[in-house]
């Protein structure tokens, strides 16, 4: 009886409401880090559940490394001022990302500077939706 009461107390006290994310947790990204990269767009996919920017980024020696950058969904991006035509293949852009913790060449967009100089986040509000 005492154990049951303890379980109940734990269940009631330990449960903190969590928001429902649209698709997945973002814990695989190191959101404490911000990495800035300038490069050339090789693909822009305006799709669900996420949009993606594919970008070739040269290092100091000119060696190209390819990165996949995840964005919010089109709906969330549009709420932050995005249009489906804001990025095109061949654009020179700068992205700020939170990289994958796995070390793979991918990350979550934090901010982008487009070819025309406009700066967008990853959704509405500071930092955008993730």
């Amino acid at each position: 009886m005492r154990a049951s009461a303890l379980c109940l107390a734990l269940a009631a006290v330990g449960t903190v409401p969590r928001p429902v994310l649209a698709h997945h947790s973002f814990a695989m990204f190191d959101t404490a880090r911000r990495v800035t990269m300038a490069g050339t767009v090789t693909g822009f996919e305006w799709t669900n559940p996420h949009a993606y920017i594919e970008i070739d980024v040269p290092d100091d020696k000119g060696t190209i490394k390819h990165w996949s950058v995840e964005l919010g969904s089109p709906s969330i991006l549009m709420q932050g001022g995005w249009k489906f035509s804001d990025v095109k293949v061949g654009d020179k852009i700068t992205v700020v990302i939170s990289p994958l913790r796995s070390g793979e060449a991918g990350g979550l967009l934090s901010q982008v500077t487009l070819r025309d100089g406009r700066v967008l986040g990853n959704g509405p509000g500071p930092g955008g939706q993730r």
């Binding site: 269940a11 698709h23 669900n48 969330i76």
Partner: protein, 259 residues
Amino acid sequence: MTSAAGRWAVRRSLWAGPFAVMSCALLVWTVQANAQTPPDLSGTWAPYRAGRGADPALTPPPPSPIVLKPQYAKTYEARRAAEDAASKRGEPLGTAAVQCVPYGFPRMMAVALYPVEIIQRPSQVTIITEAFSEVRRVYMNQPQLPVEEVPPGYYGHSVGRWDGETLVVDTVAIKESVLSYQNMPHSSQMRITERIRLVTPDMIHDQITIDDPIVLEKPVVYTLAYRRMPNYKMVEFVCENNREYVDEKGAVRMKVRGK
């Protein structure tokens, strides 16, 4: 008094009573009809949560605690602890949503910042969510079906009625594999009651009460708020480009195209 005038007076007095009664009846009917005309909830609405910029007067009250029966509480808390530990490792646990499986009711009603659309007809209220394009149909003024007669599904069977200016919706037959509020487990006996009302012309509150005599010690009550999005056009959501997957350890991964 002349005989003609007298006859007219008699006739008028004979008609006056029924006319007055009919007039009063019409007046009462009109007043009642106006009083019973439900508010129109049609439109698109965005989740409205407490936090920066939110009007405290319009944000919903805090939810009641989740109190599961002991045999369910242990598993539930263990799962949440595992989720927390996995997230701290940077290896969040996979969920159905990672594989683009819709949330179902009730979680579909509050997914991130995604709007919902309400289409209201006297016989049916339809709720469409933008995330995963989920659809609920609330059949108005019909008796609820016995749960044993409804095939369990993501949205169950919902019936509605107006209680004054509040839309009351009763939902049963949510599939047991479809997790409930805060990923709670539930049984086939779960019943969800919603009281949906306009708290201002541009703000809806949906008070949701989840009762499950098998899983819950007491009903869970929480309220969702939505702000009107004038002229907003719902965006399609077809899960066509899902680069997330669940690896052999059960963790969410993102496919990258670079070497």
